[in-house]
């Protein structure tokens, strides 16, 4: 566990385990995950599709689909409150007010039949009992703060009249309306244009610094997490496979999976027609996980022990650098 800043963490997840009952049997989408997040810090969660990142983030606010089950041993603490033991009613005072979330697809995370002004005002009216007029004025200010030009006109528009990037800015405005202490950004830029991606991420980090928010940045792109996260968790098949401060992770990655992810990022300095590296195979079928390390079938360094026994999440040289591998990569990357 990463415990550098003193004091209690803002968010502490202990032994989180989530199972989903499907027609093909019970799948364990999140498997014994623990981490702490301190105030003002950013945690990047990186992993392939289906590695359990989104489910993990949704479980914090109890937004899971109905067939998902959080194990009773799991504990989610937020500033002393045990979120997963709270009733929906008391949890509603935390949702949106103290923890907010930004979703992947801005086009579908906004209500198509409500003006964006009303959508921003909604949470202000709900949480601060603001008068409608004041909330509307405030939403103009919020739109301005997320960098939308002529906000006075925009508040009266509907989501289909805005582009994807603008919609995501609106979603950020909604999330930031009540000045939450923790912002969960679930792949906030995946559905957007590459040129808009950087803008949105810069906006998020800038607003975060201003309000001293904590942020969980979920992404499948190591590059996105690289510049913005303080700590990074790499997930694979519902488990944490590597966890370290960002600088440490990128200078010396220990887990072959992280290294493989890193190597499959296309580089500008590559000469033309360079063959793109990729991780062979598919992410594993969660209903039928291989015994031992779940990355073993795709790993280039696989040995017999890997397929027999599952490696625990442990550290060797540095206490804050955890990894789950029997034969970690050594030395600088």
């Amino acid at each position: 566990m990463i415990r550098r800043p003193a004091g209690l963490p803002l968010l502490s997840i202990q032994d989180l385990e989530i199972t989903i009952a499907t027609d093909h049997g019970i799948i364990r989408v999140v498997n014994h995950i623990s981490f702490d997040l301190h105030r003002g810090r950013t945690l990047g969660i990186v992993g392939e599709s289906g590695s359990g990142k989104s489910i993990l983030s949704k479980s914090i606010l109890k937004l899971l689909p109905k067939n998902a089950q959080v194990s009773c041993k799991s504990r989610i603490f937020f500033d002393g409150l045990e979120l997963n033991k709270m009733s929906s009613k008391t949890l509603n005072n935390v949702r949106g007010r103290r923890i907010a979330m930004i979703f992947q697809d801005p086009m579908s995370s906004l209500n198509p039949v409500m003006t964006i002004g009303n959508q921003i005002a909604e949470s202000l009216i709900y949480h601060f009992r603001m008068k409608k007029n004041r909330a509307q004025n405030r939403s103009v200010g919020l739109l301005k703060s997320v960098g939308i030009a002529n906000p006075e006109q925009r508040v009266r528009q509907y989501p289909h009249q805005l582009s994807g990037g603008l919609c995501q800015r609106v979603a950020i405005a909604i999330a930031l309306a009540c000045e939450p202490e923790l912002l969960i950004a679930d792949e906030p830029t995946t559905a957007l244009d590459v040129t808009v991606q950087a803008d949105i991420l810069d906006l998020l980090t800038q607003r975060q610094a201003e309000k001293n928010m904590s942020m969980i940045l979920i992404t499948h792109d190591l590059g996105v997490a690289a510049g913005r996260a303080d700590d990074i968790i790499v997930m694979y098949a519902g488990r944490i496979v590597e966890q370290a401060p960002a600088g440490q992770l990128f200078s010396t990655m220990r887990m072959p999976y992280t290294q493989a992810l890193m190597n499959s990022i296309p580089r500008l300095e590559n000469p033309p027609h360079t063959k793109q590296n990729f991780i062979k195979g598919q992410s594993p079928d969660l209903t039928n996980l291989p015994g031992g390390c779940s990355f073993a079938p795709r790993c280039s360094r696989v040995r017999k022990r890997c397929t027999r026994k599952e490696p625990p999440l442990s550290f060797d040289t540095r206490q804050d650098h955890l990894f789950a591998c029997w034969y970690p990569v050594c030395g600088a990357n």
């Binding site: 005072n93 579908s108 409500m114 582009s163």
Partner: protein, 310 residues
Amino acid sequence: MMGIMLNPDQKSKFITVEPKSVWQKLGVSFWLSMMWITLVVFSAVIADLLPLPEYDYIDWMNQASPPGSTRSIQPLNSSQAEPEPFVYLFGTDTMGRDIFTRLIFGARVSLLVGLITPIIGLLVGGMLGMLAGFYRGRLDTFIMAAMDTILAFPGLVLLLAITFYIGQNLTNIIIALGFLTIPSFSRVARANTLTVSRREFIQASRMIGQNDFYILIRDILPNIILPLIVYALFVVSYMIVAEGTLSFLGLSVPAPDPSWGGMIAEGKEVLDQASHVSFIPAMALFLTVLSFNLIGDALRGVIDSKDGQL
């Protein structure tokens, strides 16, 4: 609207392309239908104020007389000046009653049944469907099983039972027909709720901290209300026909009160000699039903094109 800047010098001037307005998209048939419906509704509302004879006034000398014939004999009590001859615009029925008058008063029955019945279905069925689609699980199974039971129950038998045991009047007919529309409304509502509640903005709403009631009313209802209303318009025409069928069978408003279906039934004995007795109310029924269908169609077209924009 997204602005397109044509000239870089015009820094703040944006040219916006206005889309075709909703009114233009609706088309001619929509407006013709609206005119007909307005005419029917208007005359049904002010029927009491129009200079018409009583709808059950029987002119024994003019039975089944063709459209345009005049009243030949004065009423018995006319001791004063000679009254103006009354022209039977649409002729008289087999009992010598003015068809035009009966058509207008009959429109009241058709419209009341046609408009109130879908509202019952819309409110009750819509609510049940929303609950079923939103909560799923056991509640869904229970509600949908109840709806299937109603659907499987023969409607005519229910209506016969109601008129037989509770009494034959307009209120009972409306309630019974309304009850029979509940399952179809709940199915439409459920299907739409299922797709809407899977959208991410419902989760976003929950993320803000809204409770289920608020999400149902503010987020789901506005998104499913248009398809429900369009469906209700089709049910309106369906219910007008159903009421016509019922009164044809003598199950709707009791005689002498006029209703379109009853008027058609009255004329069936004299179809060969005086076809207008059946034909004129049938025409009114046809035009009204067609109008409601065309209005529904036009509105559905507008909604579909709106979906295309999203």
